[in-house]
Symmetry: D2
Subunit: 359 residues, 4 copies
Amino acid sequence: MSDGARLRVSDGARPGVTQGRRGFASDNAATVHPLVLESIARANVGHASGYGHDPYTASVELAVAQALGVPDAKVFFVFNGTGANLLSLRAALRPWQAAIVSANAHLHTDEVGAPEAVAGTKLLVGETIEGKLTVEGLTRLIEQPNDEHFVKPGLVSLTQSTELGTLYSLSELASLVEVAHRGGLLVHLDGSRLANAAAALGVGLAEVAAGVDLVSFGATKNGALGCEAVVVLNRSLGEGMLHLRKQTLQLASKMRFLAAQFDALLADQLWLANARHANAMASRLAALVGEIDGVVVSRPPVVNAVFATLPASARARLLEDFDFYEWDASTGEVRWMCAWDTTEADVDEFAAAVRSALS
Amino acid sequence: MSDGARLRVSDGARPGVTQGRRGFASDNAATVHPLVLESIARANVGHASGYGHDPYTASVELAVAQALGVPDAKVFFVFNGTGANLLSLRAALRPWQAAIVSANAHLHTDEVGAPEAVAGTKLLVGETIEGKLTVEGLTRLIEQPNDEHFVKPGLVSLTQSTELGTLYSLSELASLVEVAHRGGLLVHLDGSRLANAAAALGVGLAEVAAGVDLVSFGATKNGALGCEAVVVLNRSLGEGMLHLRKQTLQLASKMRFLAAQFDALLADQLWLANARHANAMASRLAALVGEIDGVVVSRPPVVNAVFATLPASARARLLEDFDFYEWDASTGEVRWMCAWDTTEADVDEFAAAVRSALS
Amino acid sequence: MSDGARLRVSDGARPGVTQGRRGFASDNAATVHPLVLESIARANVGHASGYGHDPYTASVELAVAQALGVPDAKVFFVFNGTGANLLSLRAALRPWQAAIVSANAHLHTDEVGAPEAVAGTKLLVGETIEGKLTVEGLTRLIEQPNDEHFVKPGLVSLTQSTELGTLYSLSELASLVEVAHRGGLLVHLDGSRLANAAAALGVGLAEVAAGVDLVSFGATKNGALGCEAVVVLNRSLGEGMLHLRKQTLQLASKMRFLAAQFDALLADQLWLANARHANAMASRLAALVGEIDGVVVSRPPVVNAVFATLPASARARLLEDFDFYEWDASTGEVRWMCAWDTTEADVDEFAAAVRSALS
Amino acid sequence: MSDGARLRVSDGARPGVTQGRRGFASDNAATVHPLVLESIARANVGHASGYGHDPYTASVELAVAQALGVPDAKVFFVFNGTGANLLSLRAALRPWQAAIVSANAHLHTDEVGAPEAVAGTKLLVGETIEGKLTVEGLTRLIEQPNDEHFVKPGLVSLTQSTELGTLYSLSELASLVEVAHRGGLLVHLDGSRLANAAAALGVGLAEVAAGVDLVSFGATKNGALGCEAVVVLNRSLGEGMLHLRKQTLQLASKMRFLAAQFDALLADQLWLANARHANAMASRLAALVGEIDGVVVSRPPVVNAVFATLPASARARLLEDFDFYEWDASTGEVRWMCAWDTTEADVDEFAAAVRSALS
């Protein structure tokens, strides 16, 4: 199910850019970090060859590759997460191959059938625990008998951190990668929140991406205006990628302004500061609301999302003033997402509103 | 043939963002207009619902519709021109239908087969004069016998201004639209330089788009950072467009920052000032180089491109210092493109360099 | 999982056309009914316009439409079941729409991702009981929140009889059709064994297809050489179908020889005799093996398939002499499929072999 | 333009299977050779594993490979020519690659956009002389500058004999193959009339296919009921082919009956006798009508097609009694196609009718 489907916005006070309020709907409802805008403005001098064929873009591509621990990785800036995921699928799979994903995977639930319609790829949905594919589930899908009547699994896509705000530990990730590679599958990391994952795991980006073949590395939710990167870590992959990026409708003509966004986030590890802060705000929120009678934090926040249940009347009252998603109508579970720009005051005000809605 | 294929950049002085020089390679090598960046910064306050579901984006969509003369037109901001064109094709055509395009159409020569690969659409290439489809050519393609063995023409895409820097007059456009509609075809306008066309024709955007069914309305080459709009003017079209935009990989999560770009360009008709200026710089350049022995302006500049022929040695000398495309190696024709940020001094300096290269 | 994946053929006596033995692997391992071959030979006189534009084909198309109870239904002969299903999806769905199928649906498990790769269609897998979609499962998928991030269900495909050898009763079918239509979905019937279903239900083909919008009507498993028909019962559907059939690679040039196959099967209700016989042979087999210690008939045969469990050693011994599929290795379940040409003697001999394998 | 678009059938005497008359419309309007039907009947004994996994099919696959001179070539029987061509494209090309074809190529003019819609492949149309791609035209398309904005040619498809009834000589073919391979392209042979070509060239099938990478080898027009083969001669190709055939909707369940058709045509070189006869009938017809005042044989018949011009009134009179295509309305050119079953009497009667129509 998609985020949008769950959004219930109050009628009286529809949020928007003119209001300036920060809610808890999504980290993509957040602002652009000022240093990102500054970086864009700094790049806005003179002409630059279009489509990324300028030295500045090349230098930022290199910086991204280095940040992911593979200096000769191929880096392709794209517009959005769905574009990054689709370019990854198209780069990695042949027509008779399928991608294994989790039941909650953005690829499966929030990309309106683009994997099928644009890449022609069938998705095989694996079993999950807490939003994570399991070694057992992956193994089962890899080992099921295959003949010409059924697609051949060619890739597994793991979301880190997951759509449920959970994390694969580095050893879980390593096990899944090993199972996949042993079975002849490539591994794709959907890292729209890779920064939050690295921050939470206390490791660098390179460690989170260790062993995988290609990554959708997200910047938008981490404070960018709108930019992601497909990073091809596996040197045997990447044939035709420039053509494929253009054909997948992801080639920016004024590419330097995508590069500038990653430039800002990599400089002085702004990505890490942003991610840590968002994660910390979620922890703070969970701690505050966890003490309130009637609120149950349903998943311990490990990155920047808090999932909780609370009574319908309280949810309705809160939605009059704040944006957030009702995650599961049947259980009354909501998702409160913190962003790089969520302040302690925002959290405290919101927690107070929760308390008040329940009293 | 694509722009990139023709670009010959000097080795010694590879241009780029760090140098700050303005060349004549493309209007997408240009900078972002400061008012566009300001508009983005102004929109960067507080949270806004993602994916365009915020009131600010809605207000800019309305402004775009009004600018195109159809206040209830449906407006969809997208990332780039290829995205806009592909979304248009996918919205307008059924699987057995083809799009008629000119031999120079960006859809045919510069989108790396995305119409075929992503929309599954066959392109039927019509005869052109000066880069423009003719009524006769269009009629012939519409009237050719059709049965189950051949695609049915469903749409004609006209580029205004064309890839060769030429313009359809309003009456030429009206005739083509009439022929198309009479034949049961929809009309798409590829308007990546719609502003330059309107400025050159001395009419508003609404007049340029009069009678057509859907438009790829470009902002990027007009001073934006990276944004285009698909505008569905025909009220009977547009079913499923929100889904299609997302599936065509063109849905920005932080949509307000695309809206902000159009907001700036529509305010006080900045689009018109930018377009007029770019066009004027091309006129100035053509006038200056037209007087130089050895240079033949091969197409009279009506918008912002100057096409000219000059000897190979002179071309080589110029490319040491300036970026531009060699358009047709066989004839020695080059394309010099002016942008919103090209200055009179740039033009004069370049014309002087041309003179010097030929002396 | 596909049939092929489950097939275990003995090494010593690989079955084949040279042996002349009849096994229990599949009704498509069967022969062509002699009357079908005769019909083909009868049509083999003089030239006929290709691609179905001959009066004989037109007359058989009409006969099929009449058999399905809608004399003005549009009928399109195609090559195989996957072709029929894909043509149906392409005719019925727009790019943002999905097809709801059961977990066992041939479309999902045995068409190697053709729905995704060729039609670009995402499949939504509904809950099933005994291989049948339930009203509850269908309702849940129809009613789930939908926005631009998720495909819109546009069609439900029901297999009659199902891949598990079960049947929707006419009232179950009517309920599902009503739920689908109320939700704005079209209904497709995958009828590769439609004849077996009608025979088992004791009704005509028209009754089985009542209320549905389009049908993949199978002849191959019913005694044809290789032919199916897409029948568009819903008069508002079918735009562009001739083009679509050709584009979906299903247009026979010597079409009269596909028509001749349906001609033979419709004449004197040969389809019904063939289906009844196949069903009866499955009943006979189930009755005979049901009495054998160690054999459990796991699904009561309602059409022409017998599902049973028996010990691994017995299965291995049987596979030395007979073809059949091991359906579920984990439970030891096998599928024994009877065909129009299975004889009582075949059944009795096989039942004796089962008894012997278990003694 | 497709055959169907050009067909003008007389109203009074619409031809069809019930009439038994032989016309000159197409070699796919012809009958099935009796030995082909016999072969099908001979294969119709006992059960055979479906989908080509039976020893008989394997033996015929081997025979086809041997006939094409590459005993370990991979052979895949499919339903029709468009299916064979599409399977070839899908097997040979990656998404960013294009196929070079002639302006008359069946792929381009008679497959209703299937290359684009089903394979996602852009076709690049090369210059032709007498329906044949030239070395110069091919070279130009291969050598044109290529970058990420334009598809990369990956394959050239040559039709032998061509859609205009002409032939590549073996040395022309060898030159084109050399140019293609030197440029990194694969070579596909669209051989729906490969037999006619071999017969006319006086060589074996292996010689005609020498050096090419994969072939659509046609049987339908040569006397089969409906069967073609994709033969992958290049040993480095063919990954995933079984899956691809099924996904391309070309997998017959009762495969033995496709194999049986090739079996009959290869036995005692029936293919050659059929092709020689059809070619001879065209020669006879050309000789007879060439002597008639008012008839100009516009292309000397080298295979089984006669192209001629004659006055409109004569064409109209002829079409009252005989089927054939008006090839080019603007020039009054018609196509008279002979088939394996065209008799000398048919030809003589038709020539007499032509004479009478002109008197």
